[in-house]
């Protein structure tokens, strides 16, 4: 229970550890050959950084890519907002609901996350600059694998995440519980959560769900299988949700059918996630949620994590902020979260092109008058609440319920 009250409390250590990344000169998006690399002796930052305080470095850093914006008369004000955003995020980092990094890494012959990796949108320097404190690494497979092949491929993705995290223990830590997220943050590490995986990864077997959970799986997307389809959850599908509750795997409903979403909200004893859903009322993308569903999600204390993708939210920071405003007003401030959706192949709004860009979004929300309390829930608090609630549900359910041996052939015949 010790972790119940700490999610909004900034820790001095984490804040200080975040600082060096801010001082780093902003690279122009791509880490090319000219990108300064930390010397191999372990000195933390390149000596080329301009002297002076963090404050001095930040105003110019936004210049190259936000030129259009800074050219307008509000430029100075915006840059102040950015500074405030950095300060806010240092205390309340981002818990990001979706990264497609594992699938991208699978296809790189070699990668270097710690010092900067030009082949991806997410690496340690940019996560630091973006103040990402926790990140879901998706195990979704970008190939249409089903059945037994999907199980094996998911195991390979799990192994890849384990390896990538183990390769950089100074910055990354694989976590399974809300308490471990807090612990990672207290030690200045980015907490990596495994998931969501696609439902085909289960091979229609609850035993495999438990095995994947034992390997760290934290979220599962309920779509693309016979038991979670356009028709909603089958009887086996409901049993999957109950078993997920029992072991502590969160249901991800982004991309699920409306019937599946409603049935899962009814069946699940733990809050659910939508790891990549924005407001359908603003942009009619199939994975976006109608106001009805947003309201239902809010009532169920679930979490709608708004993706930073042009396709789902629109091409600008303001578009993303509009979605966040809308979701907050319909589902409530306790039910809105962030989902970078980087390295997923999606195009991103201008100024939000990689994992380093969260301060731009937070600056916009501050500008719109979001309270610090609501912002803290948005960036960090809501994810912690949902994780903690799932952990608690699992602990309680395990004493009441035995592991289910139900089979799809028996329930769905």
């Amino acid at each position: 229970m010790a972790d119940l009250q700490d999610e909004l409390q900034a820790t001095a250590e984490a804040g200080r550890l975040d600082a060096p990344a801010k001082r780093k000169p902003k690279p122009s998006r791509r880490f090319g050959a000219a990108e300064p690399i930390a010397p191999p002796d372990g000195t933390t930052e390149p000596g080329t950084t301009e002297p002076g305080t963090a404050d001095g470095a930040k105003a110019p850093e936004a210049a190259p890519e936000a030129a259009g914006r800074l050219a307008d008369p509000e430029g100075a004000e915006q840059s102040d907002g950015l500074e405030e955003a950095h300060a806010f995020l240092a205390d309340h980092p981002v818990a990001d609901g979706y990264s497609g990094l594992p699938w991208v890494l699978r296809h790189l012959p070699w990668y270097e996350l710690e010092l900067g990796e030009s082949g991806v949108d997410t690496d340690v320097p940019r996560m630091r600059e973006g103040h990402i404190g926790a990140l879901f690494w998706s195990l979704h497979l970008s190939e249409p694998l089903t059945g037994d092949r999907a199980v094996g491929a998911s195991l390979e993705q799990l192994d890849l995440v384990h390896k990538a995290v183990e390769a950089d223990p100074e910055h990354l830590r694989l976590v399974r519980t809300a308490g471990e997220v807090t612990d990672a943050r207290n030690r200045g590490r980015v907490a990596i959560l495994l998931g969501p995986a696609g439902a085909p990864a289960l091979g229609d077997s609850l035993a495999i769900l438990r095995a994947l959970h034992a390997l760290g799986l934290k979220a599962l997307t309920l779509a693309g299988v016979s038991w979670a389809s356009e028709a909603g959850l089958s009887r086996f599908g409901e049993e999957v949700v109950r078993e997920m509750n029992r072991v502590g795997v969160l249901a991800d409903l982004s991309g699920a059918s409306e019937q599946t979403i409603r049935r899962t909200l009814a069946v699940s004893r733990a809050p659910v996630l939508c790891t990549r859903s924005a407001a359908h009322a603003l942009r009619p993308h199939p994975a976006n949620l109608s106001d009805d569903l947003l309201a239902a999600l809010g009532e169920a204390h679930g979490l709608c994590m708004v993706p930073l993708t042009s396709e789902q939210t629109g091409p600008s920071v303001r578009d993303v902020a509009d979605h966040l405003d809308h979701v907050r007003s319909i589902a409530g401030p306790q039910s809105v979260g962030l989902s970078g959706t980087y390295d997923s192949g999606a195009a991103h709004p201008e100024d939000l092109i990689d994992a380093s860009c969260y301060p731009h979004l937070v600056a916009e929300l501050l500008h719109r008058g979001w309270s610090h309390d609501d912002l803290a829930l948005l960036t960090w608090g809501n994810v912690q609440r949902v994780l903690r609630s799932a952990d608690f549900t699992a602990r309680a359910a395990r004493d009441r319920r035995e592991a289910s041996t139900a089979r799809i052939a028996d329930l769905d015949g």
Partner: protein, 398 residues
């Protein structure tokens, strides 16, 4: 027959150094009989009508550690489902451990085995029976390790792409290049390389390739009983240098020459009737029953198994012996070793044959713990020097 005095002494010995058994197929039996409904085969109650194994008989047998096999079939009809089914088998063992915490304890290391012994619980380890369980993926191999699997038999009854089985036609001629990479990755993780079921050529290649001691989780001596599932003397002779452990098995059709011959004759009889030798249709069973009426099935005994151990001790040395009963993985068992309560009879027989208490402690417990600890040491060393491998079958075997 052994005197009651020896049996008493055997039991007393096993209280201090219990049996660490290399192979038990309870999970597969639970899958086949009740589809993992552990309540329907509650091993806290007497299951002698259905199983060789339950908690009371494990206690009576003096079992202190068990490698539970997470076997899945290797025949081509089953193959696409090998990885998912292996995960289900692993889940079964985990559920057993969760369900009977007072008697079973999860063990991932040699230290866990000793802790279980101290607590009087049965250290529960897992072994995968056949390289088909990783579907040619080193990542899947690591996932199995992460889930608690501590040995992998390189093949089961059928060849796989990278290793020859003892009971299939030679194809690779031992281990392929990818097969050696699998062995290397097992060494790096700390998963024991199990050479039961593999061809002698594979045994020799694996001994060449492995940086860690190997095991034979359930195999006996080919010199005593000439069956391909057993270990040739030239391989046993290499165990002292390798540090590995050969765990003698009890399966009558592997350990008793008369049973080997009888099985061959029975199979031939089936073929003569135009039937497959593993056919279990009513017609086939009738043919088999008639054969058995004319030709009584030879019965192995405790002494049969002890003969193997005597020979293996001469060739490999007492530091390289263990026990792997294969209970619930075989239809027939020797007299006196009918189920998991029978181990004291074997120990009593060996006491009567003059085995010292020190030697018996090695046979039952110490060698098995030592070999797992040695694999951990090698893994620690390799992990500090090498990165995990992502080699593929296509890359290495082209």
């Amino acid at each position: 027959m052994t005197g009651t005095g020896s049996l008493e002494e055997a039991r007393e010995l096993l209280r201090e150094f219990p049996i660490a058994d290399g192979h038990n197929d309870l999970p597969w039996a639970l899958r086949q009989q009740v589809r993992y409904d552990l309540g329907a085969r509650d091993i806290a109650t007497d299951q002698s009508a259905y199983l060789h194994t339950d908690l009371a008989r494990l206690g009576a047998g003096g079992v202190g550690a068990q490698f539970w096999s997470v076997y899945v079939p290797s025949n081509s009809a089953f193959l696409p489902g090998a990885v998912p089914a292996t995960l289900e088998q692993i889940d079964c063992v985990r559920q057993l451990i969760d369900r009977y915490p007072a008697r079973l304890r999860s063990a991932l290391t040699a230290a866990d085995m000793e802790a279980a012994r101290t607590e009087g619980r049965i250290a529960s380890l897992m072994g995968a029976e056949g390289g088909h369980s990783i579907d040619n993926s080193l990542a899947t191999l690591r996932a199995l390790y992460a889930l608690g699997v501590r040995y992998m038999t390189l093949t089961h009854n059928d060849n796989i792409a990278w290793a020859d089985s003892a009971t299939d036609e030679p194809a690779v001629g031992g281990l392929s290049a990818f097969g050696r990479a699998v062995v290397g990755e097992m060494n790096r993780e700390g998963m024991l390389v199990d050479l039961s079921h593999v061809a002698a050529t594979t045994m020799r290649d694996a001994l060449d390739a492995s940086a860690a001691p190997v095991i034979f989780s359930h195999s006996s001596s080919r010199a005593v009983c000439d069956h391909p599932r057993n270990i040739p003397d030239d391989v046993l002779e290499r165990l002292p240098a390798n540090g590995g452990v050969a765990m003698v098995t009890f399966v009558p059709k592997f350990v008793l020459q008369a049973a080997v011959d009888w099985t061959a004759a029975a199979d031939e009889n089936m073929r003569a009737h135009g039937l497959h030798h593993l056919d279990t249709t009513p017609e086939a069973m009738r043919v088999h029953r008639e054969f058995e009426e004319r030709n009584p099935r030879p019965v192995a005994t405790v002494a049969t198994v002890a003969d193997h151990l005597d020979h293996m001790r001469e060739v490999a040395g007492v530091d390289h012996l263990g026990i792997g009963g294969d209970y619930d993985g075989t239809a027939f068992t020797p007299d006196g070793l009918n189920d998991v309560s029978g181990y004291p009879n074997l120990i009593a027989e060996l006491l009567d044959r003059g085995w010292s208490r020190t030697d018996l402690a090695k046979l039952t417990w110490r060698n098995a713990v030592r070999v797992l600890g040695a694999a951990e040491d090698v893994a620690r060393d390799l992990k500090s020097r090498t990165a995990p491998s992502n080699a593929t079958l296509e890359q290495l075997d082209g």
